[in-house]
Homo-oligomer: 256 residues x 4
């Protein structure tokens, strides 16, 4: 039988994971409750709610990023289709930006599986060195380290670390992520501080969530940030001007 | 100068609408606070938070919809790019499904502008008849009415109406939406109960939000529902089987 | 029965519009033959082939456009998913750029329906004035006129006009498009030369094609242009630098 | 300097790879000429044109595929945004369907690099066995083999092989692809005939094209097939019925 456990619909009722959407969910669940209910079929604990809200808030986007710029350029061409502009903004969440939370979480979960939860610092360092060696041997990227702008350290990381500590999620996965950063920095002989992707990957891994959910939550959070950009673009457009600024970098382009 | 009011980034700081993301937002704002902060540059009231959570929860999706089916089919072809599957699911939120909240809210806002907030029932009915007459004359669709499955009434509507009442958002826009439904049903001589799109449009209009935000919030809510479907598709795939079920409807297709 | 006339598949055969894909199409049809065969269920004439090739070539894209910039920004974030970058580039083909061919063609087809094919110049001018009056009354955009860069006239238009003439497609639709441009320019008292969108709309209308096909062919053509940009982006990336150029426009952004 | 070699625009001229779009390209280049000109900065040979036309034709799509079904479902929700429906259909061209041409071509190019162009059969078989062993050791998928429907062999493969032979592209890459199929089939002890992805990968590799171009051409070809489906969906819609067919597979869903 072809079915989803997420829900079904009859003429008079919509059921989502066993609850009646109209009478048991709307007005009773907030959005994070609903994410847990639909994705995980359970309610979040108070600590989980704090952390998922922090992940959504952190990934919501801030100023002009490649993803908000792409969404704005798309909106400028097709303002009647907001969904297309949001989609265009999300499509860049791949192996270089944002989507990398999934890869980093997978790396941490695999590494942590080999260690006891209370592994000593030397064991963690050794496991981190082994991860770095393996990834470099297989020519795979190690995600979660370094930042093109925040070269002295990503300012979001201390906040996310503190929040993890306060809610009981600062443990083996965070320590591994930090040790992997140290190990790679040592090998490459350059500063490679943890970035928000690495912090979020450590949080998701510590919460026992599927790494796919890390990437997924970042898409949910980012969709809100893109909405902010597009509402602004509607009122105070900058996309066309941004495009022209780029055009003008090549003096062969001539603008009236 | 080309700039966004949403935020900017320096080497050591990320500012979002005047607040420091790391020290003033993360861990302090929940997701709905962040939506208000980035989109509207202000904090939500308690009542606004209840309503926006209800909108996100209502649009999160339930069972198999055209949008979750499209997302699952896309994931089956490109599981390495979750963002593409989410985007494919959002792209159908247009003038027939979901995106119509924007159109319905625009209709209600325009109609309400002509009436005092405490307009009597007859004045509301008359305004509604005028809207229906105008839309039919211009051959424009009237959104927010009827449902292909919930033919006796959309079960989400009473819950959303109750919640609106409890939070002070049941007023002119809701009354207009309901009167427009009655007027059109009378003209077409068929049952046309309000659907969730109409209810959400009335809420968004009553809250004084830009109609674009109605569509935008439905995209944010839907992205969470799509995530639930895609996490399930990863573990218990149904997309390929669903495609084959469709193929088998045409006996000329032959499957091994 | 749920079926498409486009084709079906058995274990040993793929049929497309009645022909065997393997033995009657591959190697025998070129791409434009295949477009006609799948979309219109017939072969193109030689003149139709010339014109469709010209449409595809014209819409393929040239330098940095909002759509190629959006595709490149997306590729920079998700190089493993070329399809996402192409999709992001196509999503801006809406009511402002490119997608407007559909609207302009619809306008020309409706206006031409009221006139004999050999209508005199004055009748065409009058019909054009009526279109402009109606569109302005209904506050609808008139597409196909003016260009943000080519303020003295879109250089593609004379070539497309010449080609139309040579192939028997310069007639009522082209004349209407040109007269609409004159009428609107007269009313607004500014130069509004035909642009490529207007020329393509006239061609599509003259060929008797569904206006949806105009927009569709522009998406096919554009997908090739986007591929060129993305192959270059892979070898000589500029997207990240383009993003930084935009960031630097706001001095509050600080880059290392 | 931030620039693309693809082209630039002045007030009176559009240049694409050194040629004037209006006077040297439109009406003179057909679509495949334009693909070569924009992507590769050169004209195709007659043989190359035959092969690229065959690739575009083969990937254009036929009956209901996951990608055309996804495009149709999206169109049903947002018919005003054809670009979104085409994008949704393309987004599934990833590591399972279609996008795999890139991976298969990369595999063949790497393997062929180790062999002389006129390598004997035993050398080819040995290289194929080494590829299979390596991919299985690294738990990587080997693309281009087997088909869920065409279990006795993909009917497109003989046509593509014949065309390759006739145009001088049947050589080491094709032989490697076939030998890899035999080697894997031997190891798994099941039939694994070459599929169209494998054939196209061999062709692209033999033509010396960048593997990214293989995936890209399949997106261009597919966009035409999607257009055919969407033009049909506009006139004779099946998407909503297809969705309901899927819904009805779960008896808990109740439809009026």
């Amino acid at each position: 039988m072809l079915k989803t456990d997420i829900g079904y619909t009859s003429i008079d009722e919509i059921k989502v994971r066993g609850l009646n959407l109209a009478t048991e969910i709307i007005g009773k669940f907030d959005f994070v409750d609903m994410i847990f209910h639909t994705v995980l079929a359970r309610a979040p604990s108070a600590r989980e709610k704090v952390m998922v809200n922090a992940l959504l808030v952190t990934t919501a986007d801030h100023g002009i990023t490649p993803s908000s710029l792409s969404a704005r350029l798309t909106y400028a061409g097709a303002p009647e289709a907001l969904q297309g502009a949001v989609a265009a903004g999300l499509l860049g969440a791949g192996s270089v930006f944002l989507g990398t939370m999934q890869n980093a979480a997978e790396m941490l979960i695999a590494a942590a599986r080999e260690l006891p939860a209370d592994a000593g610092d030397e064991a963690v360092r050794e496991a981190a060195r082994a991860v770095v060696a393996q990834y470099r041997r297989e020519r795979r990227a190690i995600y979660g380290l370094g930042h093109p702008i925040h070269v002295n350290g990503d300012p979001r990381v201390p906040s996310l670390r503190e929040l993890s500590r306060a809610n009981g999620y600062y443990g083996l996965h965070w320590r591994l992520m930090e040790a992997i950063g140290d190990a790679l920095a040592g090998e490459l002989n350059k500063k490679l501080p943890l970035n928000a992707v690495g912090a979020i990957a450590a949080i998701v891994a510590a919460m026992g969530l599927d790494p796919l959910i890390a990437r997924g939550l970042s898409l949910v959070g980012r969709s809100a940030g893109l909405l902010a950009h597009l509402v602004e673009e509607q009122r105070a457009p900058i996309a066309t001007e941004a495009w022209k600024v780029v055009l003008r970098q090549d003096p062969r382009n001539e603008l009236p």
